[in-house]
């Protein structure tokens, strides 16, 4: 990996340099350079097929790059070697990653054990209470509504107090209360959790984050950090992102 291309910040926890990912002959990520520093909150925008989910899966270690390099917490994130990097990542994707036969509490305890959470049952109970699912905590996940399942999936991503949170359209199916809890977790400043949030909801993305990245056809066409913009004007950010995303559709 080229350190020059990836950036050289001492606090960088994700470094991508010339990153490529193809599905067969179809490129999904092209020659992407990106550095994410500790504590950053990034919104990832782009229309369908822009490469948002693929980029999140590359960072989470679910996908192996076709070319270029990626380091997360200084390591390649995939396979057996990536276990220590993945231990610090929480992921929420389009699928819940939950076992329908198990209850919310059992699912959370299972993942808590896999991540080495000291008291997984207690941690699961605390999250279930915070997200208002105590009354349904022992019901099998298959009996929960879509919104409730999404809440449990979000708890699963948070079970081990991740240092890096990767959220792929997390608002899907969440009610207002759950969105507020999610917002609180994302904007929590105390522990400097780094967040990468892929969303089509520009309003939400801008309100919860401090850096905008717009992807198109697997390439970054706008990065508010690399462009050196001031991050204070939410309206201007929203208008700029909306214009960039909409320009493709038109």
């Amino acid at each position: 990996m080229s350190a020059e291309r990836a950036g050289s910040s001492a606090q960088a926890i994700v470094r991508c340099a010339g990153l490529e990912k193809s599905y067969g002959q179809r490129p999904a990520i092209r020659n992407l350079d990106l550095t994410i520093n500790v504590g950053e909150r990034i919104a990832l925008f782009g229309d369908n097929g822009a490469g948002k989910s693929t980029l999140l899966q590359l960072i989470s270690g679910l996908l192996r790059p076709s070319g270029g390099g990626i380091r997360v917490f200084g390591r390649q994130p995939w396979g057996g070697e990536g276990a220590r990097a993945r231990a610090q990542i929480g992921t929420l994707s389009h699928q819940s990653h939950l076992y329908e036969e198990l209850s919310a509490r059992e699912n959370l305890a299972l993942y808590g054990r896999l991540y080495g959470v000291p008291d997984p049952q207690a941690r699961a109970d605390a999250l279930i209470a915070e997200f208002g699912l105590t009354g349904r905590r022992v019901d099998p996940v298959r009996t929960l509504s879509r919104g409730m399942t999404q809440r449990v999936a979000l708890m699963r991503a948070l079970i081990h107090h991740p240092a890096l949170l990767l959220l792929d359209e997390p608002e899907t199916g969440l009610d207002a209360t759950s969105r507020q809890i999610l917002a609180n977790h994302i904007t929590e400043q105390e522990t400097r959790v780094t967040v990468v949030l892929a969303t089509h909801n520009v309003e939400m993305g801008v309100s919860l984050t401090t850096r905008d990245i717009v992807l198109r056809d697997g390439e970054i066409i706008h990065d508010s950090v690399s462009l050196g913009e001031q991050r204070t004007d939410a309206n201007r950010r929203r208008d700029e992102v909306t214009r960039l995303v909409a320009s493709r559709a038109s």
């Binding site: 899966q57 989470s60 270690g61 679910l62 996908l63 192996r64 995939w78 396979g79 057996g80 276990a83 220590r84 993945r86 231990a87 990542i89 992921t91 994707s93 389009h94 699928q95 819940s96 990653h97 939950l98 076992y99 329908e100 036969e101 198990l102 059992e106 299972l110 993942y111 054990r113 896999l114 991540y115 080495g116 959470v117 000291p118 099998p140 699963r156 948070l158 081990h160 107090h161 240092a163 977790h185 929590e188 105390e190 522990t191 959790v193």
Partner: protein
């Protein structure tokens, strides 16, 4: 989002233990695999019993093959579900995104499949003993069953992972699995026939050695290569 205590992921054996407990709990709750396996194998044994004239010397020649055909074809039900279920609901991605070693996931799946085969045999061995009037409760036969189960599960689990993301996975798994199981089938049928006949240990031992070697090679190689088979 406070982080009061540093998480420390479990070691390799701890991961296998957690994942195996999950496998067994999910199967116990759903009963999607064990019951269909047992019903299929029992039906096959009964069909064979009424289809062939199994008496005298013919019985000892044919019964081991009949027994293992029933076990291997029933095992396809378990092996086919092993990873396809995980892929369908996305839980495989959840596991692969967690800090587990992919090899630990493979060994947990193999262990779960071996346990399912043991449960299956706990049902069909007594049934076969009754149907064919055979003395099947012998230590050498139990050892043969165990080594055969590990052989079927070790190769079947990795092929299940390979085929899980394929469109025609139901057809793909048996096409890939049965040719690779030929050494296991030959060894278990020969060892079972000798065990039923109370053959000398010296005659059975080479077949068990072949099974043990096959099991070790597939377990070792597959646990190392497992990530390549499940990555997206």
């Amino acid at each position: 989002m406070s982080r009061p205590q540093q998480a420390s992921p479990p070691g390799y054996l701890g991961q296998i233990r957690i994942l195996l407990a999950k496998e067994l709990t999910v199967e116990f709750r759903s009963r999607e695999t064990a019951i269909p396996m047992a019903v299929f194998a029992a039906a096959a044994l009964i069909a064979f019993q009424f289809s062939f004239d199994l008496r005298g010397g013919t019985l000892n020649l044919v019964a081991p093959g009949v027994l293992w055909v029933a076990i291997i074809f029933a095992s396809l039900l378990a092996l086919g579900r092993s990873f396809s279920r995980e892929v369908e609901r996305g839980s495989l991605d959840g596991l692969l995104a967690s800090p587990i070693d992919p090899g630990a996931l493979y060994l947990a799946k193999v262990s779960a499949n071996v346990i399912l085969l043991v449960v299956l045999e706990a049902v069909i061995i007594p049934l076969a003993a009754i149907l064919f009037n055979l003395q099947l409760f012998q230590p050498t036969l139990l050892l043969t069953l165990l080594l055969g189960n590990i052989g079927i599960a070790s190769v079947g689990t990795i092929l299940s992972a390979i085929s899980a993301r394929a469109r025609a996975r139901e057809a793909l798994l048996p096409i890939m699995l049965l040719p690779l199981l030929v050494p296991v089938i030959i060894a278990v049928v020969r060892a079972t026939a000798l065990a039923i006949d109370n053959g000398p240990w010296g005659d059975i031992q080479p077949w068990l050695a072949i099974l043990a070697a096959y099991d070790l090679v597939f377990l070792f190689v597959s646990s190392l290569l497992f990530y390549v088979t499940v990555e997206k």
